[in-house]
């Protein structure tokens, strides 16, 4: 055990030192009429990344995970590389050193090869970010204003969600932009499904995960008016549970557990104002068998749903000079998330997993790629319990 931990530490340390060495050895500003101010180039490669630090302070004892102590968390530090072999063939990869590079949370966030035939048609293969919801693919912490990601993108849409996959992507221009992605991807493991977080625990994160067959995921976004975007995503797959049977390991003990997830989003931007809404519904087939296998006291639900409404205003134009990039964003968000909406006959819902969450907060951008965030979440559970959590965050992209 100790040896394993030492080995993982040395691998981790080696990776960090190697990346740091590459950065120092290869750093140069790109040639050109302008000075890029984010990332840097190493030959045909570009290095970039982002980070996200949190301080969470829950109040009361009703909070779902019953955490009473404050939490200081170096949640994410990501190093990414984008490499062009040719003008059509490129690699995009990111490694996420989550929770201060905790070995269990070291993630190969994504790593896919793109072949771009045209703007309207490209082929992608590798570890892909699932095009589900509006946040899973675009999740840099300076693109949303709360300290934590919206909870719907945790409990219903299990961001960050990546799978091994291949498929097509592109943007069709007329009569207005239509962006699409469609991939065949590896399936989830039903062994990780739970009552409180749906399919979140079923992600294998490509750490030599057992899988069976392929799932399909697709997303379409249209922007009929500049500033107004409508999007929808769909996922259809079959999850399995693997175990040992007759002395043979990694046998599918439970297979063909149907999983489908659908999301719909709308976002509208007008000057300093932003409005957005999101809805997601998750269905799990054979929930009785999954619950029995996963040995929890609470049933895995047949159906989970969540929705989000959010308004934000950028006050920079009123508070700061016209030629300043300083910005202060005020936002409010309301979510209803029920991962027990429909459970199998004969099982009882855990009402603590039906939550309403109201979040108020601000994000101050001293630089447009750096955000200082503060917010308060008010949780109300269907059990009648309620609690607050105060959060502070530092987010950046480089």
């Amino acid at each position: 055990m100790a040896m394993g931990r030492r080995r993982s530490m040395s691998v981790k340390t080696g990776m960090i030192l190697a990346m740091a060495g590459l950065m120092l050895a290869g750093y140069r500003m790109p040639a050109g009429a302008s000075g890029d101010e984010r990332g840097f180039e190493l030959g045909n490669a570009r290095i970039f990344g982002y980070g996200d630090l949190h301080y969470n302070s829950p109040r009361g004892t009703d909070f779902p995970d019953r955490r009473q102590a404050d939490l200081a968390d170096a949640h994410r530090f990501v190093i990414g590389v984008s490499y062009n072999w040719t003008e059509r063939l490129s690699l995009h990869a990111e490694v996420d050193f989550e929770h201060a590079a905790n070995a269990a949370d070291l993630e190969f966030e994504l790593g896919h090869i793109d072949y771009r035939h045209s703007d309207a048609l490209g082929f992608r293969a590798g570890v892909v970010l699932m095009p589900v919801g509006s946040l899973n693919e675009v999740h840099e912490p300076t693109t949303y204003y709360s300290v934590e990601r919206p909870q719907i993108d945790n409990f219903i849409i299990p961001s960050t969600w990546q799978e091994l996959g291949a498929g097509f992507f592109g943007t069709i221009s007329a009569p207005f932009p239509i962006r699409y992605r469609t991939y065949a991807v590896s399936n989830l493991s039903a062994a990780g499904f739970s009552a409180d977080q749906g399919i979140r625990g079923g992600r294998g994160k490509l750490k030599s995960q057992n899988t069976s067959g392929a799932a399909w995921v697709g997303r379409v976004e249209i922007e009929p008016l500049l500033g107004l975007t409508l999007g929808t995503s769909a996922y259809y797959g079959t999850a399995s549970v693997f175990g040992t049977a007759n002395g043979v390991t990694n046998v599918a003990r439970l297979s063909s557990v149907g999983v489908n997830l659908w999301t719909g989003e709308v976002k509208y931007i007008k000057g300093p104002y932003e409005l957005q809404g999101r809805y997601a519904v998750l269905n799990i087939g054979d929930a009785v068998a999954v619950s029995a296998n996963n040995t929890g006291n609470d049933p895995v639900a047949e159906r989970s749903t969540g929705w989000l409404g959010e308004a934000a205003v950028h006050t920079g134009q009123w508070l700061f000079a016209d030629d300043s990039d300083l910005d202060l964003v005020l936002f409010g968000r309301y979510q209803e998330i029920d991962t027990q909406e429909r459970v199998s006959a004969g099982t009882t819902k855990n009402l603590a997993f039906d939550r309403n969450i109201t979040t108020w907060g601000l994000a101050f951008f001293p630089h447009r790629d750096v955000a200082l965030k503060a917010d308060v979440e008010h949780w109300e559970l269907s059990t009648g319990q309620s609690d607050e959590r105060y959060n502070l965050g530092l987010a950046f992209i480089y």
Binding site: G32, A33, S34, D36, E37, R46, G80, R179, L226, K270
Partner: protein
């Protein structure tokens, strides 16, 4: 690195053009799907009506460079810049810059045209290297910049609406416009 687009070689009266490097187009070849517009095509949009386009290299003094960086809010990597002038019957009818600005992960090459009175004509995308967000090339996004001057904020969430899902590419376009307007104020003949 100087990359010459064949169609430009045929352009009349462009010996200066041939000798001038466009840093922003470096690495872009004919047939490259990232290239959305050749230089010649861009000039037709950003220097409309010009019968001839000539270029000159302008050197920024330390003070001028500092002023450009302050006004545009963007860093200048070099103290020289290529100024393109559109001529009609020998009169200058507009100026243009070809500029690289960083999107989310990669630089985007813009052609930005400005009238002699300092009002923006247009900002076109010449080379788009990002994997998504090329909708910033569409006229409905570019139209927001038309007529802008240095006295406008030209910033997202103020007077510019970004393309959803292409925030950083949209911001790069605004950066290019601000920088072009700031540069012209310093290097205009």
């Amino acid at each position: 690195m100087i990359i010459l687009i064949p169609s430009l070689r045929r352009a009349a009266g462009c010996s200066l053009l041939l000798l001038s490097a466009i840093a922003g187009a470096s690495g872009a070849r004919e047939g490259d799907p990232r290239v959305l517009m050749s230089r010649e095509e861009a000039f037709k949009v950003i220097l409309p009506g010009a019968d001839r386009v000539v270029s000159s290299t302008r050197r920024l003094t330390t003070e001028a460079r500092a002023r450009v960086e302050k006004k545009s809010g963007r860093r200048m990597a070099a103290d020289t810049v290529t100024l393109w002038a559109g001529l009609k019957y020998g009169d200058t009818i507009g100026y243009a810059f070809i500029l690289d600005e960083i999107g989310l992960h990669h630089s985007i090459t813009f052609g930005v045209g400005v009238k002699p009175d300092g009002r923006l004509v247009d900002c076109v995308v010449m080379v788009f290297r990002e994997s998504k967000g090329s909708e910033i090339k569409d006229i409905r996004f570019r139209r927001q910049f038309h007529g802008k001057t240095l006295s406008d904020p030209i910033r997202l969430h103020r007077d510019i609406v970004h393309v959803t899902g292409a925030t950083y590419s949209s911001r790069a376009a605004a950066d290019a416009v601000r920088k072009a307007l700031s540069l012209l104020a310093e290097v205009k003949p």
